[in-house]
């Protein structure tokens, strides 16, 4: 076995998430066209690229929202593509959405408690036969939820319907709800989109703090300054392919990336591109239609 | 057997007329209108009134029933659908409201005309063989098919050759885009109701020309109509035409093997089978263009 092969297999062992040659065709159009990437434990990996690059579709493929046309997804060494879409969250892989999707007519607390894994009270048999076990577990879940509500400063809205929250509070609730699943890896889809500068700093603080506690992140973000600040590594996509990968500064100055954002011969400094909800909505609809 | 197919084509062309209107309304307004069948009944009773009380020939009532159906649809939009759109009502709330409209409309007709089965005053025409085929059809049967074909051709020309038709297609494809590119949405909605309600009203007259009817006719027609638009792909008026003929023929042919009472159930079963295989209909959804 060559030294190089050994090194890469060691890297693969450390990789929490491995995507290999992922392809997704919509009709004849390749939204994701042979993407491979690794996310290692404890990393924050930024995923950038202009609109239509296939970033959100890639998220949907990784979380099994959409079936792959070809390729493979491994999480914690286990191949997961082709498995049911509720599996990733159970293994510790959870995502948030570009346009927040809270359970509007459930309270904030209910939103959080719902997401806790392994609840005996989610079975009718246990409800009937072991109500005390259900109650005891429920108490623990509530404590964990209250802890997260304190952490995210959402205690005041604990018993309000999530549909009444402000945009910023929804972002926090979505992140807290994802944490309730006890994830190893969080996929954040444009956490900073449509967020005011103060809240941006706050969200950034949460991401960095959670990383200190051992969380791993893969983050789609259009705010390039933000992504450069938090990422250990950046992957740039355009037209369904990975066009550049490496340390943030290197990717930022990669001519291929500059071209992708500004077109060939554009100015050197890549400007943040307006994320614009319509593309995201179209993808969501695709997800619905295929789900 | 061929006789059943022929009867099926007559019934299917009536379904095609009524179903294409319902599908158009869905395409533009995203409203699943359970009152559509009762708008068909309304058209038949307008014609009945003109025919019996004023002695008008049934064929003359056809355009008048179209106009009456259109007026009713526009009025209902002003009373019910426009306020609901303004308040951002959800799809389920709109469906429930359409059930309310259906109940109110049907029973208003019962109040005015009674629930007894009735028929137009028109000469009974002999069924004559069609060439050397073992098929008997009356002149009325042929006229119903021709009238349905004319109505559908009119719809096709409206959608493809007129500015309002193009605006309808734009709106059904991408409401947000149509909005920003200056499509007069209110005008499109008004025309959608004129066409949808008009076709319903005219379809009611055609139905009444082929058989006796009562105030429940629209309710019983609603299942095959929905079956037709689902088979053809909801929101696709052309699919609804195909679906209408398919369901019409399937229902009549079933009479060869099943008691006639199950005729309406056959359309439903075809619909379920199609849904299980093609959850979005045979011709797919959202293809006004």
């Amino acid at each position: 076995m060559s030294a190089e092969g050994k090194e890469s297999s060691e890297a693969e062992e450390r990789a929490l998430l491995r995507v290999r040659e992922a392809r997704k065709l919509f009709g004849g159009f390749a939204a994701v066209d042979g993407v491979s990437l690794d996310v290692r434990e404890g990393e924050i990996v930024g995923l950038i690229g202009p609109n239509g690059a296939g970033k959100t579709t890639l998220f949907s493929l990784i979380t099994l929202f959409l079936p792959l046309t070809s390729g493979a997804v491994y999480f914690r060494g286990q191949r997961i593509d082709g498995r049911p879409p509720y599996l990733p969250a159970r293994l510790g892989l959870v995502r948030t959405f570009q346009i927040t999707r809270v359970f509007a007519r459930m309270t904030v607390l209910e939103n959080l408690m719902f997401a806790a894994p392994g609840q005996p009270g989610e079975s009718l048999a246990e409800l009937a036969l072991a109500p005390r076990r259900v109650r005891a577990h429920e108490r623990r879940v509530r404590e964990r939820a209250d802890e997260l509500l304190r952490y995210f400063n959402l205690e005041r809205v604990r018993d309000q319907y999530a549909g009444t929250l402000s945009g910023g509070q929804r972002k926090l609730l979505e992140m807290a709800r994802a944490l309730m699943t006890e994830p190893k890896l969080m996929l954040l889809d444009e956490p900073m989109a449509g967020v005011n500068p103060t809240l941006k700093e706050e969200l950034l603080g949460y991401v960095l703090d959670l990383r200190r506690q051992g969380m791993t992140f893969l983050v789609i973000e259009h705010d390039l300054d933000m992504i450069m600040r938090i990422s250990d590594r950046v992957v740039a996509m355009a037209e369904g392919r990975v066009i550049s990968e490496g340390p943030p500064e290197a990717v930022r100055q990669d001519p291929a990336v500059v071209d992708a954002y500004l077109g060939p011969g554009g100015q050197a400094r890549a400007a943040p591109v307006d994320p614009g909800p319509p593309a995201g909505r179209a993808l969501r609809e695709e997800g619905r239609a295929h789900g | 057997m061929l006789q059943f197919v022929a009867t099926g084509v007559v019934f299917g062309s009536i379904l095609a007329v009524t179903a294409s209107g319902l599908s158009l309304v869905y395409a533009i307004l995203k409203l699943t209108n359970f009152a559509h069948g009762d708008m068909v009944t309304f058209g038949a009773y307008v014609a009945l009134f003109l025919n019996l009380a004023l002695g008008l020939d049934v064929w003359w009532t056809l355009p008048l029933a179209f106009i009456a159906g259109a007026l009713l649809a526009v009025a209902l939009d002003g009373l019910v659908w426009a306020p609901m759109r303004r308040r951002g009502a959800g799809t389920v709330a709109m469906m429930i409201a359409s059930i309310g409209v259906a109940l109110a409309l049907r029973n208003a007709l019962v109040f005015l005309f009674g629930a007894d089965t009735t028929r137009f005053d028109m000469p009974v025409q002999p069924k004559v063989p069609l060439g050397s085929l073992p098929v008997m059809m009356s002149a009325d049967d042929w006229e119903v098919i021709v009238a349905a074909a004319v109505a559908i051709l009119g719809l096709h020309l409206l959608l493809t050759r007129t500015a309002i038709g193009r605006a309808m297609r734009a709106l059904s494809d991408n409401a947000a885009l149509a909005w920003v590119s200056g499509v007069d949405v209110d005008r499109v909605i008004r025309w959608t109701w004129i066409v949808g309600g008009g076709l319903a009203g005219a379809g009611g007259v055609l139905y009444g020309m082929t058989q006796p009817f009562n105030t429940n006719m629209g309710w019983f027609l609603l299942l095959p109509i929905f079956a037709a638009i689902i088979v053809g792909g909801i929101g696709n008026p052309y699919g609804a035409i195909l679906g209408g003929l398919l369901i019409g023929v399937a229902q009549e042919v079933s009479v060869a093997v099943l008691p006639t009472q199950y005729r309406l159930a056959v359309g439903f079963v075809v619909m379920i089978l199609v849904l299980l295989v093609y959850p979005r209909g045979l011709l797919g959804q959202r293809s006004l263009s």
């Binding site: 879409p85 509720y86 599996l87 990733p88 969250a89 159970r90 959870v94 999707r101 359970f103 007519r105 209910e110 408690m113 719902f114 997401a115 894994p117 009270g121 989610e122 009718l124 409800l127 259900v134 429920e138 879940v141 319907y161 709800r177 994802a178 699943t181 997800g287 619905r288 | 359970f34 019910v80 306020p83 009502a89 959800g90 389920v92 709330a93 469906m95 429930i96 409201a97 059930i99 309310g100 259906a102 109940l103 409309l105 029973n107 019962v110 109040f111 009674g114 299942l223 929905f226 689902i230 909801i234 008691p259 009472q261 199950y262 309406l264 159930a265 079963v269 619909m271 849904l275 959850p279």
Partner: protein, 307 residues
């Protein structure tokens, strides 16, 4: 005077029984739609299945208790069958499929031999009737039975809805994709919700059959489903107490106009007035949907939160 009073008392018993049976029926619908968001426009089908199953088994010598339980079970099984399209279909398709199911079922019941066809079935055994009580006393006793069973169904569904299980059902109603993304396998929940709701409706159907003493296909027309929807949305969807309030208001209005619908007013015949009453029901439904879709007990915040 005492005759009038006796009449009133008897009327009160029938009013309360009807209203309570509808509460039970709506408790099932509320679990399906109010809690889980599954649009069931054919709920009356489960009422019919429960009624016919219980009565037919009773006629063939099965003890009433078992016949009633079978009515619940068979309804629930049909609920499972109908849930399968529900797993894949959008709201509007599901509404059409369920309405179609109910209409087809009624057509079948109307045309096969063993259900008695259009004449239906009558003269079957009824619970508590063989105790030697007079009809009035039986009415009140039977009302007590209906109230007890309704309270039981009410309490059990309340318990489920407030449990972690119910939390999953509500999440499915709000956004089922997100529920899956957070690790829940929702298939079983949707099927169970539909089946449980159908079972409750089956119980209501069996009790209804016992109360009427005769059933025929006319008792199970589509209007019954929509009466249940009115009761549910009047009180506020997703709330069992809303069903109670809705049923009381609906049957209150219904009774207040019953005299005219039965005897007619002046020259206007009774059947036309009955039609006018349904016009009023339709208008009520429309007005509710425009101005207060969240119902009487619904929170103001519910408005606009529905997708």
């Amino acid at each position: 005077m005492s005759g009038l009073l006796a009449g009133l008392v008897a009327y009160l018993a029938s009013f309360l029984t009807n209203a309570t049976l509808y509460v039970l029926f709506v408790v099932g619908l509320n679990l399906q739609y109010g809690t889980t968001g599954l649009v069931n426009f054919g709920h009356v089908a489960f009422l019919a299945i429960g009624a016919y199953t219980a009565v037919l088994l009773g006629v063939h010598g099965v003890p009433i208790l078992f016949a009633t339980a079978a009515g619940v079970a068979v309804s629930a099984v049909f609920g499972v069958l109908l849930a399968f399209p529900a797993l894949r279909l959008r709201d509007d398709y599901l509404a059409i499929v369920t309405i179609g199911f109910a209409e087809v079922l009624r057509t079948v019941v109307n045309n096969v031999q063993f259900t008695g066809g259009p004449q239906g079935i009558y003269g079957y055994a009824v619970p508590l009737r063989d105790l030697g009580l007079g009809y009035q006393a039986w009415q009140w006793l039977f009302l007590a039975l209906v109230v007890a069973l309704t309270a039981l169904a009410f309490a059990l569904t309340e318990y489920v809805v407030r449990s972690p299980y119910g939390r999953v059902l509500k999440a499915i109603r709000e956004d089922q994709e997100v529920a899956v993304a957070l690790g829940k396998n929702i298939v079983g929940y949707k099927v169970a919700s539909f089946a449980l709701g159908a079972g409750v409706a089956g119980l209501a159907g069996a009790l209804l059959a016992y109360y009427y003493g005769a059933i025929n296909p006319h008792n199970f027309e589509a209007i019954v489903t929509f009466e249940a929807w009115i009761i549910m949305v009047l009180g506020g969807t997703g709330r069992n107490w809303g069903a109670v309030l809705g049923a009381l208001i609906y049957f209150g209005l219904y009774s207040a106009t019953a005299r005219y619908a039965m005897s007619g007013v002046g020259a206007i015949a009774a059947d036309r007035l009955a039609a006018l009453r349904i016009v009023a029901i339709g208008v009520l439904l429309v007005v509710l949907m425009i101005y207060r879709p969240q119902g009487i007990l619904g929170r103001k915040e519910d408005l606009g939160l529905e997708r």
